[in-house]
Amino acid sequence: MEQEQVWIQQALRGDKEAFTRLIEAYQTPVYNLAYRMLGNAQEAEDAAQEAFIRAYTRLRTYDPTRKFASWLLSIASHYCIDRLRRRRFNLISLEELPPWQGIASERPQPEERLIENQKRDAVQSLLATLPPHYRAPIILRYWYDFSYREIAEVMNLTESAIKSRLHRAREMLVRAASQADEDKMPTTIGAVQTARGGG
């Protein structure tokens, strides 16, 4: 934490090397957020890069009393939400989901790897059914273990709004999972559990 503040101060004085250290420290959280929000590796890479560049150019607006991670993820999540809105569709059905274009390879894979890929597909398919402003709180809750207050800070919303969004998002996820189970889509929770030998 101490070291992080030193890097921030150095970056503010124009030290790019110090900012590089910050990128190294936060590349996975920022990339993961972009990946979970946007659903494919190429767009996630571009969005994560843009989030870091925006953070660098706005570093003077960072309030040191806040957690740097929250501030950085706030930039990334707002950028991803804007990007999703520009795509001109907020809600897509499971049938409309594109084939998986992520890191999964075409080669035969060991069973564990296959299960992991199916699980990742299932997670992304479910996330893709949520509108962007519901997707972000869910991601921050599950992958970053943020409290309601922290999510509210990142999203510039009240805690009660976050509670409401998480509740509604979970309802949507349950409906989407049920729908996928009924349609017997390969990328569902059921399929993952079957591949594990029922669970």
Binding site: Y31, I138, H167, A177
Partner: protein, 197 residues
């Protein structure tokens, strides 16, 4: 179980409580009440089970890391973005500088035309008059320049606004020169890089 969720809706008063319970934000009493309700309500129990399945799926999903070399790619993009901003800023300075220098150039034009005309006359008049003509015109030119300098100095002393304007013009000229230096350096760089390659 899935069909249960769709067949009958969970009770609205417990629906949000389930979400709070998953986040451990429900008080002990409220959680006890929820547990008791789940034992008696099939729709709510089915919803709770479905929520927990989603919960398990999401809580066990790992963080995904970017492909190797991410930091270097961001740094390179940052450098590109900054140099583009410098070029835009330089071009803007150049345009502003040029716009400011246009009236200055127009004002000087009057002073330039007369000596040029004199020079023309000098070339066309008989040789006897040339010497006298040259001296007269040179004296006239020196007088004009000295007069202009005197007026500028007096104006600068009397009006601080002119001083600011001149300083600004000077700054614009310096910025324009710097920008041209950067631009020329940038134009030449690819050639040197290619040579190195």
């Amino acid at each position: 179980m899935t069909s249960n969720v769709q067949a009958s809706k969970p009770c609205p008063q417990f629906s949000e409580q389930m979400s709070l319970a998953l986040d451990h934000q429900l008080g002990a009493a409220a959680e006890r009440e929820l547990r008791e309700h789940l034992r008696t309500c099939d729709a709510c129990q089915a919803q709770w089970d479905a929520l927990q399945r989603v919960e398990r799926l999401f809580t066990t999903a790992p963080l995904i890391s970017p492909p190797a070399g991410f930091t270097a790619r961001v740094s390179a993009r940052l450098v590109r973005r900054e140099s583009r901003q410098h070029i835009v800023f330089g071009a803007l300075s150049l345009v502003v500088g040029a716009l400011i220098l246009v009236p200055v150039a127009l004002a000087s034009a009057g002073k330039i035309v007369r000596p040029l005309y004199s020079l023309y006359l000098l070339m066309t008049t008989p040789a006897a008059w040339r010497g006298l003509f040259v001296i007269t015109e040179l004296l006239s030119l020196v007088e004009s320049v000295l007069n202009a300098l005197r007026l500028t100095i007096v104006a600068c002393i009397r009006s601080p606004g002119v001083m600011v304007c001149l300083t600004y013009n000077l700054a614009v000229l310096v910025l324009t020169a710097l920008w041209l230096r950067v631009l020329i350096g940038r134009l030449l760089r690819p050639v040197s890089v290619l040579r190195q390659a």
